[in-house]
């Protein structure tokens, strides 16, 4: 390896300096084009691009001066900007070549390739088989591995052939040959060369690289795919959601800023005193604005609760009712079951696996199954109730009438039907969590209690429950967060989804309706933030309770 003369290094650094200035200039040109081009763009998009571009331009100029001074921070800035430019250009190129949209075409040809994917898997298992075989001769193992590798390769090639990868590649390049695509490719090459040059050791040394810098660069590099995706598809939309909640966005037209109007509409409620429990709502509130949500009857009078958006409050009421029933119903049996499962008898792992099964099945499928179980005339649930009632009637000579419950079409039981499904589905998951918590309790505590003459019941209240408190907190809060978002069960089980007399309209269902059926996306965003605040509040309350109880413990 020939050493690089200081002349060469100096020249390279000088080129980097110029490149940084050019880069900043290009950014400014880009901004100018953005604001002067006739193409219609949303203002928030323009603002985001402007902020990004001006930041890049300023950073680039600062980086140029640092490179000129021979500071390492200049190299860092150059690497960062070139990397981001490289990534952007790459995504642009892929997008121009319609790689992302092309996944749809892959969906078309993928079925033909699946059998060959099977060959790949067979090859993999064949190759990994030798780890399980008793060690014989080294050669035979190696040959098995080689055979496996060849089968994998063959299967892979056949798979690519079957999904028409060649056609896809040809299509990609044919699409790439247009101004934007060619520009992207050129940008990829320029950024790539710049990155490669900056990462060469003699350049790094010329700019005074230190040992810690390697970790900084690798750290950001390794994190970058995740971080960029996270910013674009999570953090960015989260901020946008807050913005939308203050607009009248409808997904198609330019959103207008409406301030707190969305929140005001949600929170616009009235309480009114009723003279008689059956007094009509229009006598006490202005029904042009308010709709009756609920009335609370107290003796001969009552209180009427009316809201400008009654569906939101119905949804909130239903969701909280759902949480109030579904959480205990899935947590308390789980606590009992985990204690039973914790006995060191054979077969416990089998039961644990069986209990876990409902929580991994698709909620949509499960809801369809339960829909038929709940069927009022032929469903198993009513059949079991009938059998039970007959049994008790015969046993005690009673005459209990079979209720023949119309589970999903009766507004009194519709939400209960959803609660039962949710409890059934999350119980096993919670059982496994509790079981893990139980297995972390030191056995000596129980032994000491036994010596002190404590019974099983005392041990449960005195040791198990307090020691399980952190697990219980985790279980209750995750179950609550899940339950607050109940949607799929309701959407599939009920027809229409809001249930008889709006008895199963939930917050997420109402959010979906507002945002994607009525296309009031600004309002839907406001609902989302209210939902978040409610969830956050509930979690905070549980956290406070848990902390207080753990203070008592110590």
């Amino acid at each position: 390896m020939h050493s690089h003369s200081s002349e060469q290094t100096k020249l390279t650094l000088h080129i980097h300096f110029v490149w940084r200035i050019v880069f900043a200039f290009l950014m400014i040109v880009g901004m100018y084009v953005l604001w002067t081009s006739p193409a219609e763009r949303e203002s928030w998009q323009k603002i985001i691009v402007t902020v990004v571009c001006s930041l890049a331009a300023i950073l680039s100029i600062y980086g140029a001066t640092q490179i000129n001074k021979g500071n390492h921070s200049g190299r860092m800035i150059a690497l960062l900007l070139d990397y981001l430019g490289f990534a952007t250009a790459l995504v642009m190129a892929l997008n121009t070549g319609e790689i992302f949209i092309g996944i749809d075409a892959l969906g078309q040809t993928f079925p033909q390739g699946i059998p060959y994917l099977g060959i790949v898997i067979v090859g993999y298992f064949l190759g990994s088989l030798d780890e399980y075989l008793p060690t014989k001769k080294a050669t035979s193992e190696n040959s098995l591995k080689t055979v496996g590798r060849w089968i994998m390769l063959l299967g892979g090639i056949l798979f690519l052939w079957q999904i028409e990868a060649v056609n896809g590649a040809v299509y990609f390049f044919s699409k790439l040959i247009q101004p934007l695509g060619i520009a992207s490719v050129i940008a990829i090459i320029i950024f790539g060369i710049s990155l490669w040059s900056m990462s060469r050791p003699h350049i790094a040394q010329a700019l005074g690289v230190k040992t810690g810098h390697e970790q900084i660069i690798n750290g950001w590099l390794f994190l970058s795919p995740n971080l960029l995706g996270f910013l674009i598809f999570f953090a960015g939309p989260l901020v946008l959601s807050l913005y939308f909640s203050f607009t009248d966005s409808d997904a198609f037209n330019t959103p207008n800023w409406v301030g707190f109007d969305n929140y005001a509409r949600i929170l616009n409620v009235r309480f009114a005193l009723l003279e008689t429990p059956t007094q009509l709502a229009r006598e006490v509130v202005d029904i042009k604005i308010y709709d009756e949500v609920d009335r609370f009857v107290i003796g001969n009078t009552g209180i009427l609760f009316a809201a400008a958006d009654k569906f939101f409050w119905l949804a909130l009421r239903n969701t909280l009712t759902f949480v109030l029933f579904a959480v205990p119903l899935s947590v308390i049996p789980a606590l009992i079951l985990s204690n039973v499962l914790n006995s060191k008898l054979p077969g416990m792992k089998f039961f644990r696996a069986v209990y876990f099964m409902p929580s991994i099945a698709a909620v949509v499928g499960i809801a369809l199954v339960w829909q038929w179980l709940y069927n009022a005339t032929i469903g198993y649930i009513n059949y079991f109730i009938t059998l039970g009632i007959e049994f008790w009637n015969n046993l005690f000579n009673l005459a209990i009438v079979d209720p023949k419950i119309q589970w999903v079409s009766d507004e009194r039981t519709a939400l209960l039907a959803v609660v039962i499904i949710a409890a059934w589905q999350t119980m096993g998951f919670n059982t496994v969590l509790f079981l893990a918590g139980l297995q972390n309790i030191p056995g000596e505590l129980y032994e000491a209690a036994t010596v002190d003459g404590a019974g099983a019941w005392d041990k449960f209240w005195g040791i198990t429950l307090p020691m399980l408190a952190p697990t219980t907190f985790y279980v209750v809060s995750t179950t609550t967060i899940q339950a607050m978002q109940v949607f799929e069960q309701v959407f599939i089980l009920m027809n229409p989804p809001e249930g008889p007399n709006n008895s199963t309209i939930t917050l997420v269902l109402y959010l979906y309706r507002s945002g994607f059926q009525n296309f009031q996306q600004g309002y839907a965003s406001a609902i989302a933030w209210v939902l978040f605040i409610v969830i956050f509040g509930l979690t905070l309350i549980q956290f406070q309770r848990q902390r207080r109880s753990s203070i008592y413990e110590s």
Partner: protein, 406 residues
């Protein structure tokens, strides 16, 4: 305490434990069993009350002199139960009695009986102040005028071995002879009827790409968080942690608008790309990598290995269980997701449907054939179950440990 009674108590205790566990296992498994058994039934069998677990078909038999096979029913002859074939159904039977002795009834087919005095000039008689028509009914060779008291419909059942041996009884009240028979063709039918095959392969494609993509980004991200020191790392990690609690529905509106801007609405890409980058997966990977002994890495670094080589050759091979867990988690999440595909993929665009969407369509389309709907549900539910059974050793343990740490 005597040893004997101690043993008895322990036996009762264990018996009680297994009783409770089995009861709950039944509750947990019953909907799955119901789904599977119903998906193999014929439609008529699904609507039967009381419901039965095993799928059954009515048995038919070939009888000489009949073109089509005849259905078999149980009939009672002289207190003996026999299997007879239904030769003719919907036979109208009249119950006749003489006007002066209404309790002496006889049953005759309506076609065998002629009106007394001819059809145009039928004689009548007054019984209980009501005028009743008279019919000529033959009893033991004699023709006696009788009135029609009531009508029923019966079927004529014949002995399949001896077609001349006949017996009549009400068809609806007779029990058909049935045999247990499974109808796997329901699955074939649902796959053809409802674009289920495409939905299945689409779901597989989406799930595979999400699992691979998410593993890659979270392995790199998790390693950076766990092992590489860089300014801002810890702040960023706290930020990641904080977002884990945020429910997905918070993002659904802005993410939808983002997809509109990029042009990914109605595209499979929208179901894949946003799901590749998760805070939760990165967090899990970081938690795993942080337990990995530092010394091995330092030794490799001294030998001149790059960070990428360390990750590829040392850390990933040693992390297969953690990766398998994460892959299983992601698989289940991607396979079962519903609200995002519902928002992004148009109902009419069936070629981009995933299973959950296909089920949602099927629910409305085949609402009178539960066997087909539940076959569809089984197609959506069984693959995750298989993945769970294969990966449950890692998976259940890791769910448990995540809860304890959390």
């Amino acid at each position: 305490m005597k040893l004997q009674s101690y043993r008895l108590i322990r036996f009762l205790n264990n018996f009680f434990i297994y009783f409770v566990l089995t009861l709950f296992a039944f509750i947990m498994l019953f909907p799955f069993m119901y789904m599977l058994s119903t998906s193999f039934k014929i439609p008529a069998d699904t609507f039967r009350y009381p419901p039965r677990m095993l799928p059954r078909d009515p048995v038919t038999i070939e009888v000489d002199g009949f073109e089509k096979p005849l259905p078999l029913y149980y009939v009672e002859i002289n207190g003996e139960q026999k299997e007879f074939a239904l030769a003719q159904s919907n036979i109208k039977i009249g119950i006749y009695a003489p006007a002066d002795n209404l309790s002496a009834t006889v049953e005759r087919r309506l076609t065998e009986v002629k009106p007394t005095g001819g059809a145009t000039n039928q004689q009548t008689v007054v019984v209980n102040d009501k005028e009743e028509k008279l019919f000529d009914v033959e009893v033991d060779g004699q023709i006696i005028p009788m009135i029609l008291i009531s009508q029923t419909t019966v079927g004529e059942f014949i002995n399949p071995e001896n077609p001349d041996e006949k017996v009549s009884q009400n068809v609806r009240l007779s029990t058909p002879v049935e045999s247990i028979s499974w109808h796997p063709e329901n699955y074939k039918q649902i796959v053809e009827l409802n674009n289920m095959a495409r939905a299945l392969t689409n779901t597989a494609l989406v799930t595979i790409l999400v699992v691979i993509g998410q593993l890659v980004t979270s392995v790199f991200g998790g390693y950076a968080f766990a092992r590489l020191k860089f300014p801002g790392r810890d702040t960023l990690f706290v930020f990641y942690l904080g977002t884990i609690m945020i429910p997905f529905v918070m993002l659904i509106v802005p993410l939808y608008q983002l997809m509109v801007v990029i042009g990914w609405t109605d595209r499979l890409a929208a179901l894949i790309i946003p799901w590749i980058f998760t805070a939760y997966g990165t967090f899990l990977m970081r938690q795993h990598f942080i337990t990995f002994p530092k010394e091995i890495e330092e030794a490799a670094l001294l030998d001149g290995a790059s960070r990428f080589q360390i990750l590829k050759n040392i850390i990933i091979p040693a992390s297969v269980p953690a990766l398998a867990t994460q892959a299983t988690f992601t698989f289940l999440y991607a396979w079962n997701s519903f609200i995002w595909p519902l928002v992004i993929i148009n109902v009419g665009n069936e070629k981009n449907h995933v299973l959950t969407l296909a089920l949602n369509v099927l629910r409305g389309r085949a609402s009178d054939t539960p066997n087909l709907i539940l076959a569809g549900a089984a197609i959506a539910i069984i693959p995750p179950l298989i993945v769970f059974i294969l990966g449950q050793r890692f998976f259940v343990e890791s769910v448990a440990s995540s809860g304890v740490k959390g």
